[in-house]
Amino acid sequence: MTTFTPTTPDEVLSAVQWALSEELPLEVVGQGSKRGIGRPQQVEHTLDLSRLTGVTLYEPEELVLSARAGTPIAEIEALLAEKGQELAFEPLDYGPLLGIEPKRGTLGGALAANLAGPRRIKAGSARDHILGIHAVSGRGEAYKSGGRVVKNVTGYDLSKGLAGSWGTLAVATDVTFKVLPAAETEATLAVRDLQDDQMAAALAVAMGSSCEVSGAAHLPEGVAENVSGGILGSRAATLLRVEGFGPSVAYRIDKLKDLLKGAPQVDEIEVGTSREIWRDIRDCRPFADGTQKPVWRVSVAPSEGWKLALALRMEAPASAYFDWQGGLVWLRMESDDPEAALVRRLVVKCGGGHATLIRAGQAWRNAVAVFQPQPTALAALSQRLKNEFDPKGILNPGRMGASAA
């Protein structure tokens, strides 16, 4: 049982080549903040990238940052903040939900898990911000793709190709991201006591307006109290965030209030509390309860999320809340059984999307597909891609499913 802890890309290459020649698979980890996600692996050896760190390029005026893949996100965010910038995709932190201390996780991990936050609706996810990579494939070959400029269509976008691959295709050693100016300020409106269908309509109206809403979530009754120290109380809260320059935020908040004037109660939440609330929504804090109760991350069309949750609760006890205008459904099952078949049947019924079992006991993660099973032709295509990049199945084997990937 060996743990490789490379400090340079060459050492990563060497470790992968060793694993390849021995045909011994590696578990690829950064700081391990997402290690509990995916199908449990039976892998003896570990490629630990937590010491492959360091920012190699940061040019604020060019909106670009490159770093070794193991560089902690927290370090990157602090560096960017000094220049009033940020990773606009607002990477969520799975730590609290999975019972790990918060603010861990690496930049490479953000790409591998294609992280996003509430701003997904406006700014996209990690895959929308990655500009270039250096990586080592499962063939033990060091390669690069992309570059350091935003506009680039030179060849296939292999950088995006690693987004959401959970370390099963290649090991990124260096990543280059687009960075953006952080908003000067923000404010949030909380609309209270809306029924599900009313809330869906309100979110659609706000998102369809010119107010440039950058967060659109709904916390049902009983969930709302679990963000930001209970400041929202327990009543249902439909939340809309606006970010930008001060005068613009004030102007758009007023416009939104006008759009929502039929609602029973609309409260304005100032910048400090707003930031806490959205961090908690992002990190799934309402379900960070220290248990192993199954938590699903379900992605469907925004208009369908609440219908899925409603239908589910007719058949199994569960709590839910909604981000991304309702399209991202966080579900906590109240029994130990994740009810995978039921959840996925409802995803199909709601027009398609996918459901990922983010948290569940190890036995359950072995027993059911953690990631959404794909239709035959698509699954075959994914498998062919895996075989091209990692023909011996030495990188995180089985993590994304029972087959080699």
Binding site: V64, K151, T154, D157, S248, P391
Partner: protein, 498 residues
Amino acid sequence: MSRLIMPKPDEKTLSRRDEIVADMRSIVPGEGVVDTANGMRVFESDALTAHRQMPLVVVLPQTVAQVSRVLKYCNDRNIRVVPRGSGTSLSGGALPLEDAVLLVMSRFNRILDIDYANRVVIAQPGVTNLGITTAVEQEGFYYAPDPSSQIACSIGGNVAENSGGVHCLKYGLTANNVLGIEMVLMDGEVVRLGGKHLDAEGYDLLGLMTGSEGLLGVVTEVTVRILRKPETARALLIGFPTSEQGGQCVAEIIAAGIIPGGMEMMDSPAIHAAEDFLHVGYPLDCEALLIVELDGPQMEVDHLIGAVESIAQRNGSTVCRISTSEQERLAFWAGRKAAFPAVGRISPDYLCMDGTIPRKELPRVLAGMRDLSRKYGLRVANVFHAGDGNLHPLILYDANIEDELERAEDFGADILRLCVQVGGVLTGEHGVGIEKRDLMPEMFNEVDLDQQMRVKCAFDPNHLLNPGKVFPQLRRCAELGRMHVHAGKLAFPDIPRF
């Protein structure tokens, strides 16, 4: 045609042309198969008109089932296929091959679903880019990526090329605005990626498909995100005595946390060509003319206009006009939008290049271009998406003068090499196609290119879809599949481990 070498036509396919045409007619009945020289002539090139080739046969399918059957037929018989949208590629991505079926998707021209609640439009791939905006603008929405060919280019082609436009810095490229596609693989399998939900599951195959230049699959349906039109837009027209000052102004705007909706720069030859053509009132004594457009809520735009104006003044602008009406804003843009035809007026032919550079390298690259211009004895005018560093040098030449096309192409290649040298890339939005194919090794080594080809092998292992494009040389997938394992030894035996 210049020195471009395309894959050798397959004699067996050429000799069976009549049979293939007949079989195509049975799959796509009616007017969907074109095999006469006259009928095929209009398809012999895309917008890179310096290169022309008649296809084996032109097929215009109307249903996904037909696309699937055509591809499966060709796959089974080892017949090459070149997909084509509207044929507006500037890099020769849709250049036909003598032995290939040209699969034209223009009859897939319907919008299938407009869903305002979810802010998506589902369109067939032959719908034009502008057609999507037209379909939703009465409700106040639009589709953000706006390549300059948007009136003609198809949304399927936009996916294939990952098309951009002037609004990319703020609103992203095609890749950031497409939520899902349906596509047909070369073996005829129909696959759906993503949909109305915001992120696709599994590997980011959508990310790989976007910008794959028709080499991986044929797109048969596209789901795009639409946006509410900004409340207002205003522009500044700013002139600088040097390109350095213009470049510094751009850098400071961004450093101030401002992301303009559009930020375009023109150099002196481009300014003059545009002004001579349209008389829009561009100042002629500037080396760099900057158009900065701010869009969004009224209050925000007014706030930022002032900020940009003071940054411009601080950087020595000699002219700074601020639009006070929609008419004036459009007038600022008119010269820039007509820059290509304006240059076309002062030269019989021009080549439009498409490198991207880190913005700060602009003065160095412009100086390098002036030197190259002298070396090759050809004029160059520059328009520049200043916000995202995407350069469009227009090289002026006359195809009727012997060797001018070759010289222009060599000049262009040198410009792109320069872009790569300063940390940039060969193509920002026009694609590699055939035009930049042989320059790929300037940016990628063999191992890098092998990884890209392995993606190709996963999608189209027989290299039948759009061969001869993007990759300077094709290697068989079986050869790429071989493993080169160095047994047992660790090159860095002292990697920390425990």
